[in-house]
Symmetry: C2
Subunit: 434 residues, 2 copies
């Protein structure tokens, strides 16, 4: 096979065969095909797309580049959830023990945050003692004993994705739907799950800013996931305001525990229940969404989900006292209040910028070498549609010695649009793709 | 400036500024920007194109990467011709002395052939003693004394084009009109010419197979050339049959001399006169095309063009006896005849394949490391529209000890389409862009 000819065929809109995709990906990983050829191919894919079958083939070949977990020996339905990334999204921390309490095995392999979005591993790092680097046998043993585990990616976990993603990042080829799908699904399918519910975030804090784009991604994820033999469905959920009230790692763990105790912000709770209900139905644990919602609400109100959370955290070495004593979690020494500059109705928010504002304090990374401070972050007390009085407390800024505070306040001042007209509250679930 | 962001902007169809293009090209040449980023940019340009002003800026920045010839001290109008490449195209060898005899200074910097098309330097290498590597002062002195010179590219002649072309070749980004234009025009404008006539070949032996594509390229060449301050026009000429009768280096030199002696195939002669007339009018040497044609025909019939040819070849070290004694040129020891398999009318030819058939004998290169044999090649005695009898001699194959002969005959057998219907002879000049 001839690499320039394969690039040319993709450039002209042809579909590449399994042998051809394998030749390209394996050749790239083995150093037989140059990076400058693969980047040209990726740009051709950006413009010409891939069929669902073609993207599924790419996904399979990427999976074969490294370790995959075979969980078939563990009893029970395996199901997982993946979010495309948002601001304040701590759903995984609630959802994993919640669905495990409902009888699902949830094997979750997570990553770190980069850019304006947070990462689940960064949130878990805020829990003293939590160990994300389980061995394969520890991972499997915990899934069998507890029903859930959240671990990080080992170096040999889909190495093809690491190489391709790094190349896409520096060649402006990230925003390609089939490549996004192959990246996500190669990792999710390698975790050993049988079914997958995608949370495709949509809005000013998401990679997909419009419902149309989010639906296009969701449809491709479901189509390609299905081709891979995964039961897959997707919810498109609101990201035109941060999810819940907290943005920042220890703060988000606190909100997680509030939800598990039956309280917490309604939006975080409701999105978690919707995603969990989708998982229960897809995995065959509940016959209907309605019954699944009832099951999950009861697990939250009864404390059984909280007990599963404690069991899980303790199994992975985390300090279980965080559940009853929030002071075990890091807290920032500085507190600053961002007040409403004038009265009015909150019309819209630039959520991406709110995420960046939190990063300025140290809550996340703008580049991979940035250090994360678990204690700092934001509490945001305004939703779109709320009527606000001048001087009202909008955001609490938890900072360390004023680090990034000025920049954070400047970004926040630009992030909220207030006006006189009424504004409808935003629907939590924008769309659903099955 | 940020390279991925610039790639992204081109990907989205934006126009890059002069500073941005300079940042990218100079950064690439200096090793600050990676090849995998430039190849992704090239693929984005393939899909999104460039404005004429943008491509002219790219061309100027490419020119600035190396040596350019300043011919302003040499009296007389400087004009040059460039062909996009065909099979049997020996026009430059006739045209340079012909227009020099008409009072034009023709500084020509030429390249070697690759793929099915021939290269002017390869044809000149068939002339014993011809030296294409003149120094800059020798080049200028000869232009002033003789009026024409054809030299090869030094290593420091538009190095940006060498780097970019090599990268495009292995990343399927050759076929981009603005990139083709920048590659051609950076070299042509660096030769010091004031005006340029493009011969855009069109047909089965050309890079542009349809008149529509050829016209698109011609229009861009004229638009970008004009932006560069070059008087530029273009003829779109026939390449659905080889030009003239010969394909192969020494054979083409023989045909060149036949034309300069007032004979030779009508198509080679007529295309040369049309391109020369365009040069004379563009350079202001003749008031009308008609008068220019008369001037050029007289220079051929009077022997003055032949005398200029002899003067030029001798000035560059070539053996002038080739003019009167064809045996000074290499000739192949083997001669094989390809006959018409049946009677009928020649409907069409696969000219690219005829070019490859000649390469099989050693007349050209399929890859840069192939060695060229000046003696071998084809004489093709059929044009589209000709009525042919079974067994009639169609092609004479000049080979060396049967090398490549079997493959050559196989390709020729597939290259001609005969049928019963009449077929119109092909027009020589397909279109004209000014």
């Amino acid at each position: 096979m001839n690499t320039p000819e394969l690039i040319r065929r993709k450039r002209e809109g042809s579909t590449l065969s399994e042998d051809e995709i394998r030749f390209l990906v394996e050749g790239y990983l083995a150093g037989r095909i140059e990076e400058y050829q693969i980047s040209a191919l990726l740009m051709a894919i950006f413009f010409q797309g891939m069929t669902a079958a073609e993207a599924a083939t790419l996904t399979r070949i990427m999976m074969a580049s490294g370790r995959t977990y075979d969980l078939s020996a563990i009893p029970g339905p395996k199901s997982d959830k993946h979010s495309t990334g948002g601001v304040g999204d701590k759903v995984s921390l609630v959802l994993a023990p919640l669905v495990a309490a409902a009888g699902i095995v949830n094997p979750m392999v997570s990553g770190r945050g980069l850019g304006h979005t947070g990462g689940t591993l960064d949130k878990l790092d805020a829990i003293p003692g939590y160990r994300w680097n389980l061995t394969e046998s520890e991972f499997k043993a915990q899934l069998e004993a507890v029903g859930c585990a959240i671990i990080g990616q080992t170096d040999d976990f889909v190495p093809a994705d690491k190489r391709l993603y790094a190349l896409r990042d520096v060649t402006a080829t990230v925003e390609s739907i089939p490549l996004i799908c192959a990246s996500i699904l190669s990792k999710k399918a390698s975790s050993g799950t049988d079914s997958l519910v995608m949370d495709v975030k949509c809005g000013s804090g998401a990679f997909m800013d419009s419902p149309k784009k989010a639906r296009a991604l969701a449809e491709q994820l479901v189509a390609i996931g299905t081709q891979l033999g995964l039961k897959t469905s997707a919810l498109i959920t609101q990201m035109n305001q941060p999810l819940g009230t907290t943005v920042g790692n220890a703060l988000e763990v606190r909100e997680t525990i509030d939800i598990l105790k039956g309280g917490g912000p309604a939006d975080t709770r409701d999105v978690t229940i919707e995603l969990g209900a989708e998982m229960l139905v897809l995995a065959g644990v509940s016959p209907t969404e309605e019954q699944a919602r009832t099951t999950l609400s009861e697990l939250l109100s009864s404390g059984r989900a909280l007990a599963k959370f404690t069991e899980w955290i303790e199994a992975q070495g985390g300090d279980p006292r965080i559940v009853d004593d929030p002071s075990v979690l890091a807290s920032a020494p500085g507190l600053d209040i961002f007040k409403a500059p004038a009265s009015g109705v909150a019309q819209s928010m630039n959520v991406r910028q709110i995420g960046v504002a939190a990063n300025m304090l140290g809550a996340g990374r703008m580049k991979t070498t940035d250090e994360v401070d678990p204690a700092v972050g934001l509490e945001v007390f305004v939703n779109v549609g709320d009527r606000i009085d001048a001087g009202q407390e909008l955001v609490r800024i938890h900072h360390r010695d004023g680090k990034g505070l000025e920049e954070c306040r400047r970004l926040l001042a630009e992030s909220f649009v207030f006006g006189e007209e009424a504004a409808a509250p935003l629907p939590l679930i924008v769309d659903r793709v099955q």
